[in-house]
Amino acid sequence: MAVVTLTIDDKPVSARAGESVLAAAREAGIRIPTLCHLDGVSEAAACRLCLVQVEGRGRLQAACVTETAEGMIVRTQTDTLREYRRMILELLFTEGNHVCAVCVANGNCELQSLAAEQGMDHVRYPYLNPARTVDVSHKQYAIDHNRCILCTRCVRTCDEIEGAHTWDVAGRGTLSHIVADMGQPWGDSVTCTSCGKCVQACPTGALFRQGSTVAEMTRDREKLADLVTARRDKKWTV
């Protein structure tokens, strides 16, 4: 197998040919923040938090979908990149109705942790306070659209790992929202297998198990990637 060497943040790094900059950085212990990336499913390149600077390329590149190349020089932590990441997080906080104090995912939320990690300590833009709904029609789970950041991890997980494609996106722009089947209540979905993989995939408190209260919703995300590996390589981790 071909291997390439590149430099990420002045550190020489090796990568398998075809591997993404994100994967190579992770393996080398360099942390690039991500939100829509989820191990085990395809990339959406939608959150734009993993943007990095690649020498010789005019545009910032999303590390999750940028292939490593021999001699590539990558910077993941410039002042501007850090500022852009904080701004993107600010935008996400203004878009939905994120109230950590009453959220099931408080303390276990990727959006919350990223804001803390990236130093996004206040929001300079007005909150949009959208009117969004909560769907508790499913027997075991619920979706609170107020907390959804439209990362589409649930959509990709349901489609690619479970194979049901219950979830998809409807609407446009800030009116985009996750729908079950053709837009009916989740509980009425004919395709949903109630497997709960989407609930494991969700980075925030948007998808949760009913009956969990503030800060009680924890996830077991590695299971998703483990399933993919198990199927592909016939290798089970237990």
Binding site: E43, A44, A45, A46, C47, R48, L51, R59, L60, A62, V65, D79, T80, E83, Y84, M87, I88, L91, L92, T94, E95, R124, Y125, P126, L128, I149, L150, D168, V169, G171, R172, G173, T174, L175, S176
Partner: protein, 545 residues
């Protein structure tokens, strides 16, 4: 179909033509102001006056001067009449026998017509877009015949040598794109024609599809032969029903005539074309979103690479070009790449169609050689503003473009020059603004458009455009402070630098270009700061150049 048959159709059509033709525009603009009834009345007037043996009234495509529609012209004398109503029909027919009419005469020698150089629109306003024979009589499909006498790589070389660049806006070299698709390993490949024209104020592609649907199909067929594709799709927005109708008819006629389908010009080359209708999303003009939409998926862009040339429709190599690009191809094949490369400037060859709108006297479609200055287009072809006020700015490139101030109107129209002054060639929208237009409001209009049309996939575009629109609203309503202006500029940089596709990346352009040239108008709207703010720590520049 073979070459003799093509020539036979052309000569039968030419022989059947009457010595005098009264041509009435039947394209969308004139049709909306009643040209269908005008044509009907013209036909009955010809009949009533017993002139049927030497005069015929025909429906043609758009002659270009949309602000004077419905437009009727008589041939061979070349008289043009504007704002024609059904009542004028009889009078116009009478002019053929030297009588006068109260219909409004338009000077056929005015700069609007005289200064144009028509390649793509060569037949617009002259032939009946609904009959393939009419197109064939105007040398139609001769380019395809010529192409099939050459090897595919020779055609790619021809197109490369012509210097043609993509007319959709970005100006990517067409020959290079064709070569990339052609070099992909043989197998299933596709050709897609992007007819999802969506910029506010732009209607060049609509007109090309309505006026010369066969020319678009011929260009696509030549491209398909050159790159090794056998299936094409024309993606047209649903808001263009007449374009869809005429393309559908053209596909049917061309297939029946053996110019599409199998065994074209008795060669093994086969090519089928289908129409796909857009469902109202501006973002589907972006190539990867368009491809998703053709596949029946949600029309959202995906990151490139891989480019469609490598992996496009159903993951197969796909050539995707704009309507105007395809419609330029037959002329290049007929007249040679040297001829085409001789028109225009060093880096921008050929001609470009613009839809001239806004506060301009002659609104409509103009096709001019690259290198023509903006001033010539606005002041000479366009005739300046309708009410004589001063031109303040010209907006090119729609929501992705910028506002060019009046003192830069001597800039030649080519991809590089327009880019240098903070705008883009774009697909061809050209909106003229006078001294009553306020630039922050113009910027807000375009930002509202982008916020509405953002697909919602990536965060900076989905939320950033909404916040930008909010900040611009605050500014226009005189509620914003210096701090808000700083936020606005920072956010412009974010959305431009971090968005996933061209829609988001170019959405701040109208704001940035108006800030660059009309900063005073923004400053004048600012209110004093309510309280002292801590020093700014961001490294994002507060400049827009």
């Amino acid at each position: 179909m073979d070459h003799d048959e093509l020539q036979r159709i052309a000569s039968v059509e030419r022989a059947a033509a009457k010595p005098v033709e009264i041509r009435c525009c039947t394209s969308s603009g004139c049709r909306a102001s009643g040209s269908a009834e005008v044509l009907k009345q013209l036909r009955s007037a010809v009949q009533a006056k017993g002139l049927s043996d030497r005069v015929t009234a025909v429906g043609v495509g758009c002659p270009g001067l949309c602000s004077a529609g419905p437009v009727v012209s008589t041939h061979p004398d070349g008289a043009i009449f504007g704002k024609v109503t059904a009542d004028h029909a009889e009078g116009i027919v009478s002019t053929l026998s030297g009588e006068s009419t109260n219909a409004v005469r338009i000077d056929p020698n005015q700069p609007f017509f005289a200064k144009q150089f028509r390649i793509v629109r060569a037949t617009a306003g002259q032939i009946d877009p609904e009959r393939i024979e009419s197109y064939i009589a105007a040398d139609g499909y001769a380019g395809l015949y010529q192409a099939l006498q050459q090897r595919p790589d020779e055609i790619v070389a021809d197109v490369t040598a012509s210097g043609l660049r993509g007319r959709g806006g970005a100006g990517y070299p067409t020959g290079l794109k064709w070569a990339t698709v052609a070099k992909m390993p043989p197998g299933q490949k596709y050709v897609i024609c992007n007819g999802d024209e969506g910029d506010p104020g732009a209607f060049m592609d609509r007109s090309v599809m309505e006026d010369a649907p066969h020319q678009v199909l011929e260009g696509m067929a030549i491209a398909a032969y050159a790159v090794g594709a056998n299936q094409g799709y024309v993606y047209v927005r649903a808001e263009y029903p007449l374009a869809i109708e005429r393309l559908q008819a053209a596909i049917h006629q061309a297939t029946k005539a053996g110019l599409l389908g199998g065994n074209i010009f008795q060669t093994p080359f086969e090519f089928k074309v289908e129409i796909r209708i857009g469902a109202g999303a501006f973002v589907c003009g972006e190539e990867t979103a368009l491809i998703a939409s053709v596949q029946g998926l949600r029309g959202t862009p995906r990151p490139r690479p891989p480019y469609p040339a490598e992996s496009g429709l159903w993951d197969r190599p796909t050539l995707i070009n704009n309507v105007e690009t395809f419609a330029t191809i037959p002329a290049i094949l007929r007249n040679g790449s040297d001829w085409f490369a001789g028109i225009g400037t060093g880096t921008s060859k050929g001609t470009k169609i613009f839809s001239l709108t806004g506060k301009v006297k002659n609104a409509g479609l103009v096709e001019v050689p690259m290198g023509t200055t903006l001033r010539e287009v606005v002041e000479q072809l366009g005739g300046g503003t309708a009410d004589g006020r001063a031109v303040k700015a010209v907006q090119t490139g729609g929501p992705s473009g910028g506002c060019i101030p009046a003192d830069l109107l001597d800039t030649p129209i080519d991809y590089e020059s327009l880019g240098k002054i903070g705008s883009i060639m774009g697909s061809g929208g050209m909106i003229v603004m006078d001294d009553t237009d306020r630039m922050p409001e113009v910027a807000r209009f375009f930002m509202e458009f982008c916020a509405d049309e953002s697909c919602g996939k990536c965060v900076p575009c989905r939320v950033g455009t909404v916040q930008l629109h909010g900040l611009l609203t605050k500014l226009v309503e005189k509620r914003a402070t210096r701090h808000d202006l700083d936020l606005l500029i920072e956010l412009c940089h974010l959305v431009k630098d971090t968005s996933l596709c061209g829609l988001g990346q170019s959405a701040p352009n109208p704001v940035m270009s108006t800030l660059r040239y009309f900063a005073g108008e923004y400053e004048a709207l600012l209110q004093p700061e309510e309280f002292a703010r801590p020093p700014r720590r961001s490294t994002i520049p507060l400049t827009v150049v």
